[in-house]
Symmetry: C2
C-alpha cells in the first residue's frame, strides 16, 4: 500500500503553486505557476529514481524501468493544471496518487516486468485553452499537434508560444510514446459516492459532451437616447439563449446537463447598449443521441431568438467527444483491487471529461474515482478526505501491478 | 460666425488620440490618450491667447479675458473622453465647437464684457469610472471631491491616482470657479432631429436616470458532473434579470429605457457553472416617477428570481440624477440664435446625461443639439455632418454673445 501521509503532504505542498487566499488553486495551463509545479514534478520524480521527459505538447512522463524494459509502459496519469478558481484535488490526486504508487514501488524495491510511467497531461481543464484534454487528445490522434499548438487563449496567446515560454516544448513527438495500459485516479466531482457512502468509484466510461461558441452581433448604441424599439441589443438576446440552454437541459431527462460558463460582452460599458456578445455552451449526457437532441433544440431556438431580434448569429460546435466505454479488462482490475482491499465500491459513469477519455482510444484504459465533499468541484472549496485519497491510490497501485502480471 | 473648416480639421486631428481602426475613438478618461488630447487642448487654446488651467478634478479651463474681467465668466464646455468603442463627436463637438467660438472672437478682435471660458470636463462618459459626469458633479457639489477621487475603475485603479498619473490634478479646488452661465453644444445621440430635418435641437432639459449595480452569488461547480437540480448558477438567473430589465422598460411607456450594459461573470470558464455575476442596470425616463416605478418593478422581480434560484442578491442604486429643466433665459438665447441664423430648430429633451445636467444646479444653463447619422452614438460609426456641427457652433457663439450683453 501507498504512504498516505506523504501523499497528503504532496497535495498540500504543490497547492502552494498558484494557491489562492480561499484555499483553492489558480494554476492555468502553461502559466508561471504551471511551470513551477512541473519543475517540482521533475525534481520529485527524479529523487525517486525515475527518468523524466516531456513531449512536443509538454506532456510529462516519469519512468521507472521494468525488468523487461522494452515492453511498453503501464501508465498512470492526470493533470496539474486547474480552473481559475479551482480546488486542490481535481487532476492533482491522479498525478500525486500515481507518484505515491511510484514511491511505494521504489521504497519496497518492488520490480515490475513493464516499465511504469506517470504522466502529467498539458491543458486538461480547457479553461485557458479550449477544448479540454487537449494534449491527451493530440496524443490519441484526435487533434493534430499543429492545431493544438495554434490554439489561442482569450487574450490571443498561442498555446505553442506559451509552451515554449515556460520551457516545456519537448523533442519527442506527442503520441509516439508506446503505452500498454492507462489508469487514472480522480475525484468524482459529483455527489454519488458520498451520498452512497462508497469509497471507490469503478468508472466504466465517460458521458458524451459537446462545446459550442456563439457570437451574437447587434449594434452598439447609447443607453439613454436610443429608444427601445430602435435597439439591436446583443446581450438581451444572449440572456434569452442562456435561459434556453437551462430549459433544454431540464427537458432532456435526469442526466442531461447544459451550461453557459463563459460570456464576453462588448463594449461592456454601463451606458452602451451591447453590440456584440460571445458565449460558450456545454451540453452533456451519457447517451450521445440526447446530446444531439439538445444541440438541435438549441440551434433552432437560438436562430429564432436572433432572427426575432434582428441580430446576426454565429454558432460553431468546437468540441465533440462521444460517450466512451473503458476497457473491460482494466475495469475488472480496478474492481478486483477495490474488492481485495475491502473498500466499498460501485460502478459509475463519469460526468466530467478526463484524459482517460482520449487514452481509451489508443490503450486499454480505466479510471478510479474517490468521493469529494458535496460533489463540489471546479470550486476553491473542493475537498476530499485523506483516507479516501489514499484508498484510491492503493486501488491504483494494485490495478497497475495486476496488469503488469497479466 | 465660426470657421467651420478649421473646426472640422480639429475634430479629425484630435481623433488621432486613441483613434481605432474602425474610425472611432477609444479614449477612456485619464488614460495616456486622454493626456495627449488634454495637452493638445492646452497648446491650442494658448495659441489663441487664452490662459489654460485645471482644477483638483482635472477639469480644464481655457480663459479669454473680458473687458470687465472681474465678472464671472460665461462658459462653454463638454468632454474629450470617450466610450471604449466611442465615436468622434460625442463630447468632442462641444469642446471643439467652443474652441471655434474662441477662435472667432480672437480672429475678429471681438471684445466681451465677461471673460469667456471653455471647459473640458473629466470623466463625463462614466465608462472607466462610474458614474458619468463625475467631475461636473463635483463642481456642482453633487459628489464630494474625496468620493470622486476614491472612485475605482473595474481594475481597481483609483481615479485620484490615474489623475495624478497623467499630471492633471490641479491646485484650484473643484467648484471654486465662478460661472455666470454655461452652454453646451452636443450631438443629439438620438434620431429625432435627423428624422425631422432639423439642424438645431433647443434642449429644454435632461431626462431622469438611475444606475444600479447587481451582484448575484451562487456556487461555482463542475459543468459536467453537477446535476441541474444541484446547481446555484448565477448566470442563468442574471440572464433572467437582463430579460426583465428590457420587459420592464417596454411596459413603462414609449419614452422609458432600460439597459444592462456591463456584465462580469465569474470564474468565466467554459466548464464551470458560474458562481458569481456582477452587472449594471440603467433606467431612464423624462418623468422621474416612471423611473421610480421601473426601479420598484426591477427590485421586486430580481428578488423573486434570486430567491427562486436560491441565490444571494445584492442590489445597490449607485446613481440617481433626477430630470432637469434648463434655465428659461439661456434656452431663449439659444432659440433666438437659431432663429436669427435661420436654422430649422425644435425643442427637445436630452436622453443622455451631460455635464450641463449638473451645471444647471449652479449656473444658468442650456444646451444645443445637432443631428447625428441614424441617431447612433456610443458607437465607432457615430457620424455628423460638417455643416450641422458648424451650425451648432454658430448658435453657441450667438447665445454666448447675447448672454454677455444681457
Ligand atoms: N475533470 C475535469 O474537470 N475535466 C475538465 C473537462 C470537463 O469539462 O469535463
Ligand atoms: N452624452 C453622453 O453620452 N453622456 C454619457 C452619460 C450618459 O450615460 O448619458
Amino acid at each position: 500500500t501507498v504512504n498516505g501521509v506523504k501523499l497528503w503532504d504532496d497535495i498540500l505542498e504543490t497547492a502552494k503553486f498558484g494557491g489562492t487566499p480561499k484555499g483553492g488553486i489558480k494554476r492555468l495551463a502553461l502559466t508561471e505557476e504551471d511551470r513551477q509545479v512541473r519543475d517540482w514534478f521533475v525534481r520529485t520524480c527524479e529523487a525517486l529514481g525515475c527518468t523524466v521527459s516531456h513531449d512536443s505538447m509538454g506532456n510529462q512522463f516519469a519512468r521507472r524501468p521494468g525488468t523487461e524494459d522494452t515492453l511498453p509502459p503501464i501508465t498512470m496519469g492526470s493533470h496539474l493544471d486547474t480552473q481559475p478558481t479551482g480546488g486542490k484535488f481535481d487532476g492533482i490526486v491522479g498525478v500525486l496518487g500515481g507518484l505515491a504508487v511510484l514511491r511505494a514501488l521504489q521504497e519496497t524495491g518492488r520490480e515490475t516486468r513493464h516499465p511504469i510511467e506517470l504522466i502529467n497531461w498539458t491543458n486538461e481543464e480547457g479553461s485557458r485553452f479550449s477544448p479540454a484534454m487537449l494534449s491527451s487528445g493530440v496524443f490519441a490522434g484526435v487533434f493534430t499537434e499543429q492545431e493544438a499548438l495554434d490554439t489561442k487563449d482569450r487574450e490571443g496567446v498561442r498555446l505553442g508560444d506559451a509552451l515554449e515560454g515556460i520551457g516545456y516544448r519537448g523533442a519527442e513527438v506527442c503520441g509516439a510514446h508506446p503505452v500498454a495500459a492507462y489508469f487514472e485516479l480522480h475525484i468524482e466531482q459529483g455527489p454519488i459516492l458520498e451520498v452512497e457512502h462508497k469509497t471507490i468509484g469503478i468508472v466504466t466510461g465517460v458521458q458524451g459532451m459537446r462545446w459550442y461558441e456563439v457570437t451574437l452581433t447587434g449594434r452598439d448604441s447609447h443607453a439613454g437616447s436610443t429608444p427601445m424599439r430602435l435597439r439591436a441589443d446583443a446581450l438581451v438576446t444572449a440572456a434569452r439563449m442562456i435561459d434556453a440552454v437551462q430549459t433544454i437541459a431540464l427537458e432532456h431527462g435526469p442526466d442531461a446537463v447544459g451550461t453557459v460558463g463563459l460570456i464576453e460582452n462588448r463594449p461592456n460599458s454601463r451606458n452602451v447598449v451591447p453590440g456584440e456578445v460571445f458565449f460558450t455552451v456545454d451540453f452533456r449526457d451519457p447517451d450521445d443521441s440526447i446530446v444531439q437532441k439538445m444541440e438541435d433544440a438549441f440551434y433552432a431556438q437560438a436562430s429564432e431568438l436572433a432572427e426575432k431580434a434582428g441580430l446576426t448569429l454565429d454558432i460553431a460546435r468546437v468540441w465533440d467527444t462521444p460517450a466512451v466505454q473503458f476497457d473491460p479488462e482494466c475495469v475488472a482490475s480496478v474492481t478486483r483491487a477495490a474488492d481485495t482491499l475491502g473498500y466499498p465500491a460501485r460502478r459509475i459513469v463519469s460526468g466530467a471529461g478526463h484524459d482517460a477519455t482520449y487514452m481509451a482510444q489508443v490503450a486499454p484504459t480505466a479510471m478510479i474515482f474517490v468521493p469529494c465533499a458535496g460533489g463540489l468541484s471546479h470550486n476553491e472549496e473542493e475537498s476530499a478526505e485523506p483516507d479516501d485519497v489514499t484508498a484510491g491510490a492503493n486501488v491504483l497501485l494494485r490495478a497497475v501491478l495486476e496488469t503488469d502480471m497479466r
